[in-house]
Symmetry: C2
Subunit: 339 residues, 2 copies
C-alpha cells in the first residue's frame, strides 16, 4: 500500500483487457462498450487509481494546466480576477498555475520560465510595464501557445485581451467631480509605461476639455500606486500652495495616502474632493468613504478564461478579440460636495 501507484496496466491486468481499453474506457471513448466502461471505472475506483497527468500530458501534448500571471495577488483586483478564472475553468478540467511578477522584469521572466517548463497549455496574463517584456510575450506567441491578456494588455501583440475602458473610467470620474462643482481638478498619474494609466490620464484630460476647463500641466502629478507616494504627493501639493478643489487619483492607494495627509488641513470632500480607482475593499470603510471606479475583476477573469477556452476549442480558426468592459463609478462620501 506504500508507493505502488496503480497504473492503467494494473487495472488492465486485473480485468484481462489491454491498457488501451482501460485508457479509452476511462476517457469515455465512444468505441468502448458501456459494459466494459462500467467494469473499468469500477475497478479503477476499487484499486484507488489516480491518473498520472504527466504521462498523459507527455503523450497527448496537453498538460491540462493553464498559467495565470498577475502583478501581485494581494491587489484585490487581481485576486478577484483569479477568482473569476477559477470559476470559469472549474469544470473544464484545467488546473491553474499562478505566478506573480511583482511588476518586475526579473520576476516576470522567472514566472514565464516556470510556466514554460510546466508545459502549460496556455497563459492568461497581465503584463507588467509595456516596455522590455515584449520579447517575452513574443516568444509565447512564437511557441504558438495560446495567450490571453487581461487588465494590462499590449496592443502590438494582437492577441485576445479583456480589459476595462480605462479612458472611460478616467473620464467618468473626472466628469463626476466637475458635476460636483469642482473646477481645479488634479490628477495623480500612475506609471506612464503602463497603458491603463495612460488611458486614465487621457480620460481625465478629455473630461476637462469637454467641460471647457483649461487644463494646466501642473495639475498632473506623477504618483505610483502606493500609500506612501500618495502622502508625498499630497505634501508636495500643500507645500506648493497650489491647492486643487479635487483630486482624481489613478489608484486607490495613492488616493488614500493623500487623503490621510489632506484631512489634517482640509475638509474632504468640501475643500477637496477625492476619487480613487480600483475599488479596493478599504475604500468603502476609510473615512470619508472613497469614491472610486469598479473594474469588475471577477467578470474580467471569467471572460479571460472563456476566451482561453474558446481559443483552445477552435484552435485553427480562432480569431483574437478585444473585450472591453465598462467600468463603474462608485460614488461615496469623499466626492460628494454638499454645496
Amino acid at each position: 500500500m506504500k508507493k505502488s501507484k496503480t497504473t492503467i496496466h494494473d487495472i488492465a491486468g486485473a480485468l484481462s483487457v489491454t491498457s488501451s481499453t482501460v485508457s479509452r474506457a476511462l476517457n469515455n471513448h465512444p468505441a468502448i462498450s458501456d459494459d466494459t466502461k462500467r467494469l473499468v471505472v469500477d475497478m479503477a475506483r476499487r484499486m484507488n487509481y489516480k491518473p498520472n497527468r504527466l504521462a498523459a500530458a507527455l503523450r497527448s501534448g496537453k498538460s491540462m494546466n493553464i498559467g495565470v500571471m498577475v502583478p501581485m495577488i494581494e491587489r484585490s483586483i487581481f485576486a478577484s480576477i483569479i477568482r473569476g478564472i477559477e470559476d470559469e475553468v472549474a469544470k473544464s478540467g484545467y488546473g491553474i498555475i499562478m505566478c506573480q511578477t511583482y511588476d518586475d522584469l526579473a520576476h516576470e521572466k522567472r514566472a514565464f520560465d516556470t510556466l514554460f517548463r510546466s508545459q502549460v497549455d496556455g497563459i492568461i496574463a497581465s503584463a507588467t510595464r509595456s516596455s522590455g517584456n515584449m520579447e517575452l510575450y513574443q516568444k509565447v506567441i512564437e511557441d504558438d501557445i495560446p495567450l490571453i491578456l487581461f487588465d494590462r494588455s499590449i496592443d502590438e501583440l494582437g492577441v485576445s485581451a479583456v480589459v476595462i475602458d480605462d479612458f472611460k473610467g478616467g473620464y467618468d470620474a473626472t466628469r463626476h467631480l466637475i458635476e460636483q462643482g469642482c473646477q481645479k481638478i488634479f490628477h495623480f498619474a500612475g506609471d506612464q509605461d503602463i497603458k491603463v494609466y495612460q488611458e486614465r490620464l487621457r480620460g481625465y484630460q478629455a473630461a476637462l476639455q469637454d467641460a471647457g476647463i483649461t487644463f494646466d500641466k501642473s495639475w498632473v502629478i506623477n504618483c505610483p500606486s502606493n500609500i506612501e507616494k500618495g502622502r508625498q504627493a499630497a505634501e508636495y501639493i500643500m507645500r506648493s500652495g497650489n491647492i486643487p478643489d479635487a483630486i482624481f487619483s489613478s489608484s486607490d492607494f495613492a488616493a488614500l495616502g493623500a487623503m490621510q495627509i489632506l484631512k489634517g488641513k482640509f475638509s474632504i470632500p468640501d475643500d477637496i474632493a477625492i476619487v480613487g480607482f480600483a475599488n479596493e475593499p478599504f475604500t468603502s470603510f476609510v473615512e470619508p468613504a472613497m469614491t472610486t471606479v469598479n473594474q469588475h475583476g471577477r467578470d474580467m477573469g471569467r471572460l479571460a478564461a472563456r476566451a482561453f477556452l474558446d481559443c483552445i476549442a477552435n484552435r485553427k480558426d480562432y480569431v483574437s478579440r478585444q473585450i472591453v468592459l465598462q467600468p463603474e463609478l462608485i460614488v461615496r462620501a469623499s466626492s460628494k460636495k454638499l454645496k
Copy 2:
C-alpha cells in the same frame, strides 16, 4: 520555426553524440567532460532548446513543482506567506502551484485533486477547518508525499508545521488591554473548529485569569472573520446594554466592523478599546489606527519552504518538527487609553 520544439535528440544529432550525453551534460553530470558540457550547453542555447519538464518529471518521478494551498490569497497574511515561500524556493529549481480552498471542503478537495494530478513533489498547506478534511491529508501522507502545514496545523497528523503561538498572541493582546486599565474585556471568538481561534480564546481567558479578573461567559461572542459579522456583533452588544470597556477580536475584519458601529455612540479607545488580530494592512490606516497582532507571514512562508526543502533533501531520516513563531503585538491608537 513554427512548432518544431527542439529536443535533446536534435542537439545530440547536431553534435554527433547521444541524447544520453546531452541529457547528462545539461544536468551537469560529473561523468561528462567539461569540453562536451560546454559544447552541449552552447548548442542548446543556439537551438533555443527548452527542456520538457513533463518528460523529465515522468521519467524521474519528480515534477519539481510544489503545491501551495491557502484559504484565500487576498488575506494579507496568506499573500505574505506565499511571498515567503517564493523567496525561499526561488533558487531551488522548484516551481509553485497555488490553490485556494476558500475555507470550503469542496474547494479543498478539488485543490488536492489538481495538485495530485500535477504530480507535485510536495504540498505546503494551511488546513481549513480541522474537521472533515482529515482524510484528505491522511491520503497525502499515505501516498508518501511530503506535507508541511502552516498557520493552521493539524496536530494529529504529526507532520511538520510552522505556526504562530496564537495562545501568546491572545494573551498579550488581552494583557495589554488590562494594562490600559480595561476590566470588562469582550472577545470576538472565531470559528472554534479552527485551532488558531481556539488558542486565541484560550490566551484571552488565561490573561484574564492571571489578572484576577473573573471571566463571564457572556463576554465571549461568536464572530466569524469578516466585517459584516463584526458589525452585527457590535450591534448585538449595543442592543444588549451589556457594554464592555474593551474588545479583543480574533480577527481584524471583525474588529473593523465593530469599530465602525461603535464609533457612532462611543469613543474609541476611551470608552471602548479595540484590538484586532492579523495586522491586515488596513489596520494601520483606519481611524483610529487599530492595535493588532502581527503574525510574521513572510517568515512563516520562508520557514515552511525551508522545512519542505529539508524534508526532500533527507527523505529517509527526516523527522518532522513544529516551528512556533512568536507573534508581535502592534500597539496603535485604538487601544491606548489616555487616562
